[in-house]
């Protein structure tokens, strides 16, 4: 075989309860040493299954590998049994794997040293002492400080990013020639994501390893990939060099993906979501799998489409050529986003909000101290405005939201809702007021009661606050709400798991809207969703705001999303707001070093731009409230920090009325 790793005509299916479902359908790809190959596609498109199948790591019932060859260095490893010595030598030895969830991919009851050394001993056949040395070396390579001391620690003692580094160390243990990284950064913060990916690609380049990177984030693809495979419904729909895919997008699905993501460099663009929901392996269409969501589909799409060469190493499975698509695109031109710039009174005013958790100790659970989570933050939101709140994981965004909603103990400061301080109110008194302030949750899966028809969930606030007089009115209102969020009212008797993620989030939005609140707090409402659906939800929220004059506190860790939707943005770090400003201004003229680092870490889905951007990595780990520095909370990761930063805590300094920054080094 001419390629180092080549997979040919891989087919995988799952035996389900009712029928067999095809997860990977005739997929072929290859990778060369030193190359970074990316797989992109929506959730469920078969990216993981493809890789797992190639290494025979799928659970064998229910999965069935129906056919295909996997050639590695000229040997078809598919001929070996899953537990055969040859296959085992390949796994870990020739091919290293890194999985999506760093939290669950390490054995919780074994020290990381054991877990790394196990791999080393297995493939390098060396003594324990040698293995230990190698493990230390690996940990050093992946950037874990003080490796020798940490070898005996357990996975739970590491942060997510560090665990992912350990996973990488394990994957690298035997210096494999191929590394498969299955969404290695999806669960991580942007800053950590950038660190991990940089690490991976640099190690791959150094060792001349082929890196197969699976992701659904197109930004990442643009930054690192050399070649790209776009998967949809178990098939590769487009493949080619990165610049070609971005610059000369030939498949409508790839186009859809690109248009659906908000970008940092967007100028007031309305997102273009891919309509409909993602592929379902159970119900396969004839012909092009994408045709029911494709705006260019025609009758010819019902016929089977093979990948066609379209030049420059790019292949696409669409019947239309690049030019034909371009032609049709002009007809449906992109619409601009309308702007409203008039905001009303302050709906919500937060003044010096502090949240603490008690630390308990001893036999009697005495309160031994306090852990400050939110360290005195202030902001306000005007009617019809969206305030974005960004920050790394654990900085206290959710805590802020919950504190405002009075879901936490240990809150101090003032929270004025329509001018009235709600913090001193008792739960009973506040209960009737709850209809004025609602929330949309991050996880559409866990935020809906899995056992209730969604109609009951959406209608519940109506009943609780007695907003309807009778059953008829109730039904009417619920139907209205469903229509409002773009759901068929006929679906209202289904339960949550009968909806797709996006639809569930719509239900969540409908529920938040039911009581016609003054303000809605959105806690990362789109971060759990696929890019295509993310766009739908963002558009929906924008539309609803326009129509109903809604006010949002929009929490996210994805700066591009926040920038897209918010009028103003507050950047949070370790329980403090370090910078707050109008969104355009913030992105154009970020001042705080942390904000700058954040912006820098966000990839932009365009290889051309990515290549020109200067890359500055934010050092260090995601902060923890347990280890809060004395002065400026950011001082230990900041390049500019000096003595004063380490001793004093900077206050927000206002430049004009709108732009506040909490940093000594700026003014």
């Amino acid at each position: 075989m001419e390629h180092f790793l080549e997979v040919k005509n891989l087919r995988v299916s799952f035996t389900g309860d009712i029928q067999k479902s095809i997860a990977v359908d005739d997929v072929s790809y290859y990778a060369e040493p030193g190359e970074v190959v990316c797989f992109v596609g929506e959730s469920g498109s078969g990216k993981s299954v493809t890789q797992l199948a190639a290494l025979q790591l799928l659970p064998v019932p229910p999965a069935v590998i129906e056919g295909g060859e996997v050639w590695l260095e000229g040997v078809n490893i598919m001929q070996y049994k899953a537990d055969s010595p040859q296959m085992r030598a390949v796994r870990g030895g020739e091919v290293g794997m890194i999985f999506q969830e760093p939290m669950t991919s390490l054995n919780p009851v074994k020290t990381i040293g054991v877990q790394i050394m196990e791999s080393v001993i297995l493939h390098l056949k060396c003594s324990r002492e040698k293995a230990r040395e190698r493990a230390l070396e690996l940990l050093g390579q992946v950037g874990i400080p003080d490796a020798a001391a940490r070898l005996n620690d357990f996975p739970y003692q590491f942060s997510g990013g560090m665990r992912q580094r350990i996973m990488i160390a394990i994957a690298l243990a035997a210096s494999p020639k191929v590394i498969v990284a299955d969404e290695p950064t999806t669960a991580l913060d942007v800053t950590t994501q950038a660190q991990i990916l940089d690490l991976l690609t640099s190690l791959a380049a150094k060792n001349n390893t082929a890196l197969i990177l699976i992701t659904h984030n197109l930004g990442i693809v643009a930054r690192y990939a050399q070649r790209i495979y776009v998967m949809y419904a178990g098939k590769i729909v487009e493949e080619g060099p990165a610049e070609k895919i971005f610059g000369h997008t030939a498949h409508p699905y790839t186009k859809g993906l690109l248009q659906a993501v908000p970008r940092l460099d967007d100028q007031n663009r309305r997102l273009v979501p891919i309509d409909g929901i993602g592929p379902s392996p159970g119900k396969r269409l004839t012909g092009c799998q994408f045709r029911n969501r494709c705006r260019y589909s025609s009758e010819k799409c019902c016929e089977e489409q093979a990948l066609r060469e379209i030049g420059g190493g790019q292949r696409s499975a669409c019947i239309w050529s690049y030019e034909e698509l371009k032609e049709q695109e002009k007809e449906g031109a992109e619409d601009e986003r309308k702007e409203t710039e008039e905001f009303g009174e302050n709906v919500l005013e937060v003044k010096d909000l502090r949240v603490t958790y008690p630390l308990r100790k001893g036999i009697l659970n005495r309160k031994a101290g306090e852990l400050t989570i939110i360290d005195g933050i202030s902001f306000s939101i005007r009617k019809g405005e969206t305030l974005g709140l960004v920050g790394e994981s654990g900085c206290g965004k959710t805590t802020t939201a919950k504190a405002i909603l009075k879901l936490l103990e240990g809150t101090s400061g003032r929270v004025l809702l329509n001018g009235r301080d709600i913090l001193p109110l008792r739960e009973k008194e506040f209960r009737s007021q709850r209809k004025n302030i609602q929330m949309i949750f991050q996880d559409p899966f866990s935020s809906l009661d899995p056992r209730k028809p969604v109609e009951e969930l959406v209608g519940e606030p109506l009943l609780i606050h007695k907003l309807v007089k009778d059953r008829a009115e109730y039904d009417r209102r619920v139907d209205e709400l469903f229509c409002l969020v773009g759901l068929e009212p006929s679906m209202k008797n289904r339960v949550a798991h009968e909806f797709s993620g996006g639809q569930r989030q719509r239900v969540g939005i409908a529920r938040a809207l039911a009581a016609a609140p003054d303000i809605i707090i959105c806690d990362e409402p789109v971060s759990a969703l696929d890019v295509s659906i993310q766009a739908q939800i963002i558009n929906l929220l924008e539309d609803l705001q326009q129509r109903l004059k809604l006010t949002f506190l929009f929490i996210a860790h994805d700066l591009s999303v926040v920038k897209h939707i918010s009028h103003r943005v507050a950047v949070m770090y370790l329980g403090n707001i370090v910078e707050i400003s109008d969104s355009e201004e913030l992105y154009a003229k970020a001042r705080h070093p942390y904000t700058k680092a954040l912006l820098n870490a966000v990839p932009i889905p365009d290889p051309a731009i990515e290549q020109e951007r200067e890359r500055r990595m934010l050092p260090g780990e995601v902060p923890s409230v347990m280890k809060r520095p004395a002065g400026c909370c950011f001082c230990d990761r900041c390049e500019l920090s000096d003595e004063r930063c380490r001793k004093e805590k900077p206050e927000l300094v206002w430049d004009g009325k709108k732009h506040g920054t909490a940093c000594f080094q700026i003014t």
């Binding site: 309860d17 009712i18 209960r431 709850r434 866990s446 809906l448 009661d449």
Partner: protein, 286 residues
């Protein structure tokens, strides 16, 4: 929508019975339920009709499994005993489940002092050997079916409470419960219509296998002479009475013992099957 629920139920059973063992277990349980219901039709004898001239006879054409120490037909008593054993099993499990689940629900949800009090109470119950508890309560309450059910019920309360607490603790921090609080729902509403239904599937599994446990416990109590009041036929009483007459009519002790085994086995396998079906991670691999 009615149709939808129908297909859902249909699907549920199809998954459940896809494995032959579960099917077999279901048939077993059903079989015993049917014999219990139709006991009078299955036998020409009365369960309590004695024939003191024909005691402890070996199996014969007229008495397929022989007779017991009062000349009653053993097979007939097994049929009727199925009633007692099933009723005892089901009702006492319901009693303990209702009590245990309520305690667990309330203590885990509210926490604080209530939790402390309930947990200590459960600790106390747990510290007492269940048989001794049943025995002591039996002396206090007597040995009617009713009190036996209460007694057996009380001694299994802790299991439910513990399990329920753990469930509630995991569910109570889920976003959908927070969502209810955000919507302004009262605690009672949250507890009853959201937390309870979502904690129930492991309890359901426990329920089925506990029915078996209770039937077993009843036979142990009978063996120690603390069983149900005569002349009511119950498998437990028969096993223990029959065991001491193994040399006279071996079938008398062995047959009800096998019935206990089969029924309890049926319930257990059914419970396991339910667990597998209710566990979404196992779907498709069954």
């Amino acid at each position: 929508m009615d149709k939808e629920t129908k297909t859902k139920i249909h699907l549920f059973f199809r998954r459940l019975f896809k494995r032959k063992l579960v099917m077999l277990a279901a048939i077993l349980v059903l079989f015993f339920i049917l014999t219990a219901i139709f006991a009078p039709l299955l036998t020409p004898y009365e369960p309590n009709k004695q024939d003191l001239t024909a005691i402890l006879q070996k199996p014969s054409a007229s008495h397929w499994l022989g007779t017991d120490e009062a000349g009653r037909d053993v097979l007939t008593r097994i049929f009727y005993g199925a009633r007692t054993s099933l009723i005892i099993g089901v009702v006492s499990v319901l009693i303990s489940a209702v009590a245990g689940v309520t305690l667990g629900l309330v203590s885990a949800y509210y926490g604080g002092l209530l939790n402390t009090v309930i947990s200590r109470f459960i600790d106390v119950l747990m510290s007492l050997p269940s048989l001794m508890l049943a025995l002591a309560l039996g002396l206090v309450f007597g040995h009617s079916i009713g009190s036996l059910m209460i007694i057996l019920g009380i001694s299994t309360i802790p299991t439910y409470t513990r399990m329920m607490s753990a469930q509630v603790l995991s569910v109570k921090n889920q976003d959908y419960i927070t969502a209810e609080r955000v919507a302004g729902a009262r605690n009672s509403r949250i507890l009853i219509s959201h937390i309870l239904p979502n904690c129930f599937s492991p309890i359901l599994v426990l329920l089925t296998s506990n029915i078996g446990m209770t039937i077993l416990a009843e036979s142990s109590l009978s063996f120690l002479g603390m069983g149900i009041n005569p002349p009511t036929a119950s498998w437990g009483a028969m096993v223990s009475a029959g065991c001491s007459k193994l040399l006279l009519n071996p079938v008398y002790g062995i047959a009800p013992g096998i019935c206990v085994c089969l029924l309890v086995y049926g319930f257990n396998v059914l419970g396991d099957g339910l667990r597998d079906v209710l566990d979404p991670r196992l779907r498709g691999s069954l």
